[in-house]
């Protein structure tokens, strides 16, 4: 038997780690498919054979639930994203406000605020600092937060907002530490970046899928998720 998990691209490696530890107790093969959350929604709506969705937001799981494509009441927040300001160029000090106001900061990369929660959160942060992003910077948007990361990593953008999880992931993938300034963003400056999971219709009667969702809320899983750079919801 297989457990088919659709996962938002930014959470894929963590999901794989979770699967590995899950399958120690449950002898099941996990198939992890990643993609942009919006596309995952479209595919699930078209009958994609997934048991569980680990989305990067709450809107799409909500909608699946509402449309009867997911099991009502199975939805929960499995992780909270942490936003980080990354400025690879030079030392800008620990004050985010000052760093953002620096006039040498010209192009700023964020995830697409309309489709990616990290992008929406980044806009909120900017607004909280009283910055009109559209006029102050050359605001470049990645389709995903991963693309925003690429823009900064390639030097194409001067700085930008990425997720804390990406920083961990980059370091563990490459064994290198990121250069430049990394400033964690105060989570109170934006609405929580809730990544929600939901049991899909295909997995509704699958005890393994149900077990996986339960596992996701168990302390070992929460520990793994936190280790990957997310915070977890207070139960």
């Amino acid at each position: 038997d297989e457990l088919r998990i659709a996962v938002a691209a930014n959470f894929k490696q963590t999901a794989e780690a979770l699967c590995r530890s899950f399958s120690v107790e449950h002898p099941v093969r996990c198939v992890v498919s990643s993609g942009a959350s919006g596309l995952l929604y479209a595919k699930i709506a078209q009958g994609a054979p997934f048991d569980v969705l680990l989305s990067a937001d709450r809107e799409r799981p909500e909608r699946l639930e509402r449309e009867g494509l997911a099991v009502a009441g199975s939805r929960f927040t499995y992780a909270l994203g942490q936003l980080v300001f990354w400025h690879p160029g030079r030392r800008v000090g620990a004050d985010l406000g000052a760093a953002l106001a620096d006039e040498r900061l010209q192009s700023l990369a964020i995830a697409n605020p309309r489709s990616a929660p990290y992008g929406a959160a980044a806009l909120e942060v900017l607004r909280a600092y009283g910055i009109d992003a559209a006029t102050q910077y050359r605001l470049v948007q990645g389709e995903s937060v991963a693309q925003a990361f690429q823009f900064i990593a390639s030097g194409a953008a001067d700085a930008g907002f990425v997720s804390a999880a990406q920083l961990f992931q980059y370091q563990s993938n490459t064994g290198r530490t990121l250069e430049g300034e990394l400033l964690p963003v105060d989570a109170t400056l934006h609405a929580p970046i809730e990544q929600q999971a939901v049991l899909l219709r295909d997995g509704a009667t699958d005890p393994v899928a149900q077990a996986f969702l339960r596992y996701l809320q168990s302390p070992p899983a929460l520990a793994l998720i936190e280790a990957a750079g997310y915070s977890t919801p207070v139960p």
Binding site: R4, A9, N10, K12, Q13, V31, V32, S33, S34, G35, L39, A42, K43, A45, Q46, G47, A48, P49, S144, A146, Q147, F149, Q150, A153, Q166, Q169, Y170, N173, T174
Partner: protein
């Protein structure tokens, strides 16, 4: 390093190329010879995938072929699941690479002089006989170009597969998706290796194709 996306891509390309030749040969033959007013329209439809963003194409294929799409009930009745499955990738890639196969075939077919076919007819060869024993052998070079282009283009196919594929490892995660995925996961080393493999393979195929081209292009019909 996981080579399965490579094998999957190659399997997909071979399957798609075979189907494209089967479909493309009669279609290209019809386009090359017909005087029907519908010709320009059909040619345009065949060429659409050259023009439309592959993601757009893929999205509408998803809507069309999914269980809730217009073709959904039919496919269900046939017990065919086309989205998120290897057969689905095949269908999508066939549509997407069709012009790359039909165009070279059409051009070679147009070069076959009417007289060759009339000769064959007066010598007793019926329509199918003529197609198999005269048209096909005379179009060998065009068919090779068509097959190579179809194969190579399917290998590099991304947008359609992204949309209707579902990125399922070993089933729909082809190499182009895998590269994209690695880039998304910030696994640049893997992305570089996959890309280099694809690049080298494509260059070898194309250089072979183009260096053999000149020889074949010589005038043959008198």
């Amino acid at each position: 390093m996981d080579l399965s996306p490579f094998w999957l891509s190659i399997r997909l390309s071979i399957t798609v190329t075979a189907i494209l030749l089967l479909l493309g040969l009669p279609l290209a033959w019809w386009l090359a010879r017909t005087r029907s007013p519908a010709r320009a329209f059909v040619e345009a439809v065949v060429a659409l995938p050259l023009v439309l963003p592959p993601t757009v194409l893929g999205f509408y294929l998803l809507l069309l072929l999914g269980p809730k799409g217009p073709l959904g009930p039919l496919l269900e009745a046939l017990d065919l699941r086309l989205v998120f499955s290897f057969p689905g990738l095949v269908v999508g890639s066939v549509i997407y690479s069709l012009p790359f196969v039909v165009n070279p075939l059409k051009n070679t077919f147009r070069e076959i002089p009417e007289g060759q076919l009339e000769s064959a007819a007066t010598l007793g060869a019926g329509p199918l006989d003529r197609f198999l024993r005269v048209v096909l052998p005379l179009s060998a070079s065009g068919a090779v170009t068509a097959a190579v282009m179809g194969f190579a283009h399917t290998l590099g196919e991304f947008g359609v597969v992204l949309m209707i594929g579902g990125n399922i490892p070993g089933e729909t995660q082809v190499v182009s998706i895998a590269i994209y995925d690695h880039v998304e996961q910030l696994e640049y080393a893997e992305a570089h290796v996959y890309s280099a493999g694809l690049l080298v393979f494509s260059m070898v195929v194309l250089v072979l194709l183009y260096s053999s081209g000149r020889a074949r292009r010589q005038a043959r019909f008198r």
